[in-house]
Symmetry: C2
Subunit: 213 residues, 2 copies
């Protein structure tokens, strides 16, 4: 199909498609006789949908999407490594607070806590570890008397979820489809989980704390 048809099918504007082509996020189409026209296929439609999912559902910036797509396309990368790239691409707070000595101490506490859970966490996960440390420091500075075990209910749920999420990865599908499923699952269900926690809180809070209308 031509670019106009690709735009219609994918519901992505021609200008945006050209932008993705220039930025190398979308591979070029097959050249045709005419110098200025190219032919696109289903793989282009699919790639555009993947870019949209990462942008619109995952909120990933363009540079992060580039890294994730490169990892998916690199046949030398194993699934575990691609997951690491997806995790690094997803932003996580905190952005500030890295200078505090409290934070430095809290990082060690979190490392011990994670080791106690039996989780072996690679260096690429440092932002997630730092986010937990910053959460602990913030709670204490606000007067919460808490230890790392305040995270245990969350850690238990996360543990069960992750096991389940890895269970449903097909092991007999071709690499590119499996790897994409891992990335999509990580990104899309993170948004879904956050949304569902808020909806559940709203529901329970209305029941318990809401005033009668």
């Amino acid at each position: 199909m031509r670019l106009s048809e690709l735009s219609r099918v994918s519901r992505v504007s021609p200008a945006t498609i050209k932008f993705y082509l220039r930025e190398g996020l979308l591979p070029p189409g097959e050249p045709t006789g005419s110098r200025r026209l190219a032919e696109y296929g289903q793989s282009h439609v699919h790639r555009l949908r993947l870019i949209r999912a990462l942008t619109e559902v995952g909120g990933l910036p363009l540079g992060a999407i580039r890294d994730v797509l490169a990892a998916i396309d690199d046949p030398g990368l194993g699934m575990h490594d691609v997951l690491g790239v997806a995790h690094s691409a997803l932003a996580i707070n905190p952005k500030g607070a890295t200078r505090s000595t409290d934070l430095h101490a809290a990082r060690s506490e979190i490392d011990n806590y994670l080791a106690g859970l039996g989780w072996h966490v690679p260096a690429v996960q440092a932002p997630a570890r730092d986010a937990l440390a910053a959460a602990l420091v913030a709670l204490r500075q606000l007067g919460w008397r808490c230890e790392t075990d305040i995270f245990t209910p969350y850690a238990r749920l996360a543990d069960r979820l992750a096991e389940r999420e890895l269970d449903i990865i097909p092991t007999d599908a071709p690499r590119d489809r499996t790897v994409e499923a891992v990335v999509v699952g990580t990104v899309v269900f993170e948004t879904a989980l956050v949304a569902l926690r808020r909806l559940a809180q709203a529901h329970h809070s209305a029941r318990r704390l809401g005033e009668p209308p």
Copy 2:
């Protein structure tokens, strides 16, 4: 204490404190004899820590923090309403995709799904509902053959978490402390949950999918 002391105790720079004062995020200090000096107290230290937690752990922009602080400070607002303000202040993807007809249909599916869970979701939670609808559309466009029940494992966990989170809200503490605890809990543990899911995924993925070193 004077502003320089407030800066030292709170580890927030004098320029940033002055900025928060100008923006009305931090209430003015008590005037002293001198026209240009004011006296600050523990409530200012605490408020600065709250602002830092919302910024650095929650990633909230300044406008959102203003709304959350105003809700905390408004004695006429019940706890359930303050939680709604905190939820609205937290950004959620998606930012785009609102024009698609698929999304419109998916919204109804999500509404039915949430009703089926017995969750009554107020209008203020529309962004979370839309995020779920966008997640469903994205999965299907990428070839996942899925219905809303793909979210059920996440919804069950979110349900249990929310119940637990509401259980530990003290019911006998003064309003301002309780309301703040609700906001801090929502914001800080959202980051913690996301971080823990990624850490758990990294751990399980290394065990199952990682190549031996």
